[in-house]
Amino acid sequence: MKRNSRVLASVLALSLSVTTLAACSSNNNGNNSAPSGTSSAGTSEAKDTITALLPPVSPTYQDNFEQMAKDFNALYPNLTLKIEPASWEDMTQKLDTQVNAGSPPDIAFIGSEGISKYVQQGMVMDITDAATPEMIGDFDAAPLEYMKNGNGIYGFPAYMEAHALGGNKAFLEQAGIDYKDVQKNGWTYDQFREAIKKGVVKDGSKTSRYGFVFATAGVASKDYLNILVKNAGMPSPFTTDLKYAYTSNNYLEVLKDVRQLIDDGSMPKELSSVDAGKRWNMFLTGQTMITGKGLATFENSANKNNAKIEANDGSAVQGSIKAEYIVLPVPSFLGKDPVTTVAVDGYVTFRGKKEPTAEHKANVVKAAYYLASGKVAATTNNDLFVAHITKTGKEAAASMIVNRNPDNVAAVQVMLSHAAPARPDIPVELGAKAIKLEDEVIIPKLQALIAGEITPQAMYDAVKKAAISTFGEDGVVKE
């Protein structure tokens, strides 16, 4: 009996050990097989599997994965598109873990600003020689530029979305703001400042509605200042001669304006803790006239909530009111031309530790193009209310009906006409340094500025000091 127990315990112990090892082993196998050329033969008709890590790009995007994979297989019978879904929260961590293990998916949907980080790691795949002229010619030039770094192209863009502001139509009209004129002709900082002052509603000593609320906490922390400074003569952190731009005096002026809007009482003094979810809730519940950053999909979201309120649906946002969403441009500063911040997200192509074969590379490009163009792009972009950036996407979308305010569509087109140009010329090392400076100095100091703990001058001095220490005296703008 005793002997039997010992044998049983040993078997259990060994099983556990083996299970642990087997788990690690199977993980590795799974990862290794994905990226590095799984073509079984040297011909382009050989069977191949392309893996893609995709987040919920639009509300219905992940519901269509099975159909997307089937349609792709129908188009290329020798190819299998294996899609791994991920949540937005998991996406970066999942991808980074796979990249650093040397076994990323072939394709991942990420923001184009993330490309430089992976170029530095050497883990993205340049598709310049594998993308056909027909594929390249299908895309609008501006968004495609965002997928470049140096001389390489690292995937295809899905959309180019303007980072705008969003207003409540009824409140804008109450405040006497000619929003249609603003949509067409833009506005200056002074005009904007006066407008949002008019949007403030007081209930005794307390503010029941602010003129403007921008999310500055959490993932949105870097958006606010980035969006504003682009309209103050600094369309990129680097000038065309690759000097760091945020040491310019214009930067200081924008910081003063950031503080001024809070001191006016047009923005809440608790702004540094307002995250993206909170400010959207404030917009829907009528606690602010204008919100930022505004994405095109917010119009869809507001429309859906309005429908729920009309239908007395209990799932409408608690305390929300009907709000017609109006797209507004970001004001321009110091007499500079407006420059729209755009988000270009897309299907970035990765490689594993092994050099991918030419056949596999061509197959990955086919899959990336399939996802970024035609019917898939048309459906996704319509779902998101964003403009189509491929000819095939526009054709496919022609027969689809989208319930969008035409004034908003026109306003977005105006904004996209002066979109910030891509900067593939910025070396990855320089870009990485700027990102670190932003994370370790600019964002923390901005939080302190918004909370009223430091002055604009103190923040500017801190940024300038860090910039000189990072890029050297000659590596920064002096004016």
Partner: protein, 300 residues
Amino acid sequence: MMQATKTIKKRKVKGDAGWGYTFIAVALVIFALFTAYPVASAFIISFQEYKPLGSTFIGFDNYVETLSDSLFWKSIRTTIVYTILTVPVALFLSFAVAILILPLKKWMQTTFKAVFYLPAVASGVALSVVWLWIFDPMPSGILNKLIGTVGADNQNWLGSSSTAMLSLVLMAWLSSHGTSIIIYLAALLGIDNSYYEAADLDGATFLQKLRYIVVPCLKPTTLFLLVTGVIGSFQVFQNAFLMTGGGPDNATTMVGLLIFNNAFKYFEFGKAAAQSLILALLIAGVALVQFKFLGKEVEY
């Protein structure tokens, strides 16, 4: 006969050792895979500029850069402040709750243990969502409403340097004492009743019994909880990451968060590994000091 007995004994010893090794194999394999190997790996990586396609050896650069980085030292200071503010209070609260639970009936003890242990099994993310709700900066926020009842001004709890650390400390004070409470209760139940009976005969008060019986008898437990508490606090990451992101103005950037950012945000694994090893040395140093000064009178 004598010879035969010896041989059987020898075989038995050999056999027992074999079984022993078999039984600890699982723990050994897990330790080797998930502790020893990563530590050795981190040590090697700390001398490299890590890249998936081939790392470069850069000597002590990561250490030099870390030791000259003002943000690293600020994060160490912040972590020490957090530890000093949280660990002693957490120990006191756990001890007090354990003392309050001790005289209760067994079923009530079990109920309270379960209630206090619940946050330990709840997801940290879920807890953070609740706390974010409590610390809502607008006047409609729970804590702001609460302080509003006594006429205090609205506070930007997580967004102001003066209250962000306090908010994280408050969160630590009011959650996750379950494990300490259970350990303290087990230790309290281990104190022999004869001590209390003798004290009762001498007419000792509750506080006298606490001071002269309970506290000395619980010294080993307190030392254990203090050392593990300090180690855990030095490694704290989740609260700052989920609640403040290290802000404002890096007022809540703990060293664990800084290491995470270097590794997973900037892909500077070499620097992150160097910082982790410096942190490990620091923790080992603090633990040694604790054992040296507080462990003297502890009898096991």
